[in-house]
């Protein structure tokens, strides 16, 4: 993302002007191979996916031009709609909780106390697990024969059927697992942001008689905004592309946008083009999300200005 926006900004000074400066020219020449590689390994596949999504291609070969019919079929496909619904619900709710809990943790461990380093390290443990492993681990806990969570929930009468056999329960579980797993990451990013806020600002506010609540909303939140937006953007995009958690925890039962793409492109023989259409859809919507963060919320993408 950063590499794509940076050259654009420099263009404002005039491309020709840029190239007159020998030092800059050398710099561009040195960046050129990297740019070429990015073009071939990133932009070419994206464009190719767009092309494929507009043909009636199958895994075995490129088909004839089909316009937007794959996109129309995709939006009529209940599996896609289910994946879209699950993904959006999952992203909104899990990022919301991760943010609230993550902020609370960050505020708590931002204060100096004995054993802070240990707590910080301990908090990160769930995040250090590979997602697939924690997903399988949680699956076992949700399972009906050996699963402790399923057992307790059943004993308490919270659930009327096994967790793994109900898609709504599965989605709730997936959100829970994601919150468990990535809240530490959120806390860490927010903590880094908190530590850039100078203590003097708080002292001055205290002298002026600002209450804790006033200090939080007038000092902490505004000054935390850059770090906060970065953290939220990261998490939103990551949740939006959720694949491994759903795939492994629900044993392919829970559909997300990414699992829809995988099924279309790798398992199905006929939905190859539709899978490509869905991948283009994910790419575009994720791009839009990023734009909203950068333009809408005024997120800084570089430290230059």
């Amino acid at each position: 993302m950063a590499t794509a926006t940076q050259p654009q900004k420099k263009k404002r000074g005039g491309i020709i002007g840029e190239f007159k400066n020998p030092e800059r020219r050398t710099a561009y020449l040195m960046v050129l191979p990297t740019l070429l590689i990015i073009l071939t390994i990133a932009f070419f596949p994206i464009l190719y996916a767009v092309v494929l999504s507009m043909t009636s291609s199958t895994v075995t070969g490129i088909g004839s031009f089909a316009g937007v019919s794959n996109y129309v079929a995709m939006f009529q496909n209940p599996a896609f709609i289910e994946g879209l619904y699950n993904t959006v619900v999952f992203t909104v709710i899990s990022v919301f909780f991760e943010f609230i809990i993550g902020l609370a943790i960050a505020l708590a461990i931002n204060r100096a106390f004995r054993g802070r380093g240990l707590v910080r390290a301990a908090v990160l443990v769930p995040w250090a697990f590979p997602t697939v492993i924690s997903a399988v681990m949680w699956r076992l806990m949700f399972q009906d024969q050996v699963g402790v969570i399923n057992y307790v929930a059943n004993a308490l009468g919270v659930i009327s059927q096994p967790i793994l056999s109900d898609r709504t329960l599965l989605l709730i579980s997936a959100i829970g697992v994601d919150v468990w797993k990535t809240t530490p990451f959120m806390a860490l990013l927010l903590l880094a942001g908190l530590q850039t806020i100078p203590g003097e600002v708080y002292e001055a506010a205290k002298v002026d008689g600002a209450s804790v609540v006033q200090r939080f909303f007038s000092i902490t939140m505004p000054l935390l905004k850059p770090a906060l937006l970065v953290a939220l953007l990261f998490r939103t995009l990551e949740s939006y592309r959720v694949f491994d958690l759903f795939w492994a925890m629900s044993n392919r039962e829970l559909e997300s946008l990414s699992t829809f793409v995988y099924t279309g492109v790798r398992i199905s023989q006929l939905q190859f083009a539709q899978g490509n259409a869905a991948s283009v859809f994910i790419f575009l919507t994720a791009f839009l999300l990023a734009l909203v963060f950068i333009k809408g919320f005024g997120m800084q993408t570089s430290t230059e200005d």
């Binding site: 390994i41 075995t60 009906d144 096994p162 793994l164 056999s165 044993n251």
Partner: protein, 459 residues
């Protein structure tokens, strides 16, 4: 293979550089190694074509792919063959993922890229139509003559027959069978395992009530390939069929028989013979429930019988367990879903290599080698004669117990678009078990969706 490793090396160089060298150096190293990897990648791809691949001693190399050889019986047969045919043919065994889906995916990627170097494929019985329709595997009808085929079990041959031609040779087979708790049946005064689904439910309910066994019947109801197999067993045993026997482009699943089959499956849950969780079960969970002594009946592949009595895997003993054919409908016949593996020959490799691969197929499917694999690895033979072999019957009890049931198998729909059909079937069968769709609704949906898929099949 080689290509992947190269790219990996490039990455490792880059990563080490991250900490030690400056950002600029890192970019340079990264760029160079990436470019290098790309070049090597193309170079590795450029091979192939022309004559057959040969070894130093001039023998033709046949790259043979198959799932991991846990019993070691495959490796020792390959060694024996390579020794016998030194200077002529060398089999190069390339191990593939245990997960058949991943294995299939890898092969498909290779075929799409022009065939790859795997000459001989040991693969799942559901693949041939999908490979054959694309012209990826060779028609073996002339080599594998009708006379030879007559010695084999029918189900696996059917699974290899697409568009009137035979595209594979059955290597070993597999069949869904009913495992039951002999001791619990004895205690309940039941002398014979159930012959019909209704009997199974009655016996299960009785034992559940009297002995307090948690599960009456456990099977594989998850939304995956195994769920498709189980659902089809219910449907087929009531006389329903997915495709028209004479015209595989016609979907015929919408019939009262199919509905009756799914109704029976659903009633297992409704009548509490099976717990609701069965809709999430694969072989693994079913096996755990049965081997822990928590189930009266269990539908599974015969491998499970081999685990009974193994103190690490099982809490029940061999004498507590019996094996029989799956139950049938009231006036119907018992039906077992067909599993197992066949040999396929890659159509893209040179003729000499294909001929060499055929030699190896003949060797492997020979009674002697099949017997060896049955004794050493518990693989069910595909030759009917071996089911009367006293030594096999003695050493592999499940073959003696399963007997007829193992030979009376029905393959899954032989269609070039089977993957898509299976996804739909697994989804709908699972919805029925979950109570999200009634059997009628599921069958109506399937008729429509499967016909839609069949219509898109390549010519």
């Amino acid at each position: 293979m080689r290509r992947a490793r190269r790219v990996g090396t490039g990455r490792a160089v880059g990563r080490r550089g991250f900490g030690a060298v400056s950002r600029r150096d890192f970019l340079r190293i990264g760029g160079v190694s990436l470019a290098g990897a790309a070049l090597l990648g193309t170079a590795a791809c450029g091979g192939g074509g022309g004559g057959p691949q040969t070894a130093d001693d001039g023998s033709i190399v046949v790259v043979f792919s198959a799932a991991p050889d846990d019993s070691g019986s495959l490796t020792s047969l390959i060694e024996q063959f390579n020794e016998d045919r030194a200077g002529e043919i060398q089999i190069d065994y390339r191990q593939q993922p245990t997960d058949t889906g991943a294995y299939f995916d890898q092969l498909r990627t290779q075929f799409q890229a022009g065939g790859g170097d795997i000459a001989l494929i040991g693969g799942d019985v559901i693949w041939p139509a999908q490979f054959a329709a694309n012209g990826w595997i060779s028609d073996l009808s002339d080599l594998f003559t009708e006379d030879m085929r007559s010695g084999f079990i029918e189900g696996p041959i059917e699974s290899n027959t697409y568009d009137g031609s035979v595209f594979g040779v059955p290597w070993f087979t597999d069949a869904g069978v009913l495992h039951y708790r002999q001791d619990l049946l004895d205690d309940a005064g039941i002398s014979e395992p159930p012959a019909t689904w209704t009997e199974l439910k009655e016996m299960a309910s009785q034992i559940q009530e009297e002995a307090g066994t948690e599960w009456g019947y456990v099977f594989q109801g998850g939304n995956y390939e195994g769920g498709t197999v189980n659902g089809l067993e219910f449907i087929n045993s009531f006389g329903g069929a997915v495709l028209n026997e004479d015209d595989v482009t016609q979907v015929t699943i919408d019939s009262p028989e199919s509905v009756a089959g799914l109704e029976m499956a659903r009633s297992m849950v409704d009548d509490e013979v099976s717990q609701q969780a069965v809709s999430t079960y694969t072989e693994e969970e079913s096996e755990a429930a049965f081997l822990n002594g928590n189930a009266v009946f269990c539908r599974n592949w015969p491998y499970m019988y081999g685990l009974v009595g193994d103190p690490e895997a099982s809490q029940i003993e061999t004498e507590q367990v019996g094996v029989s054919a799956l139950p049938a409908a009231e006036d119907g016949e018992s039906v077992s879903g067909l599993g197992g593996w066949n040999f396929y020959v890659n159509a893209a490799v040179p003729q000499e290599t294909q001929d060499a691969a055929w030699e190896f197929i003949q060797f492997m499917t020979d009674p002697e080698q099949q017997k060896f694999r049955a004794l050493e690895g518990g693989f069910l033979p595909t030759l009917t004669d071996l089911y009367d072999d006293p030594e096999i019957l003695d050493e592999v009890p499940v073959i003696a117990l399963g007997g007829e049931a193992l030979q009376r198998t029905v393959p899954r729909p032989v269609s070039p678009v089977y993957s898509d059909m299976s996804l739909q079937m697994a989804e709908q069968f699972n919805a029925v078990l979950n109570g999200n769709a009634s059997p009628e609704e599921a069958i109506t949906t399937l008729q429509e969706n499967l016909q839609g898929i069949a219509d898109q099949a390549p010519e």
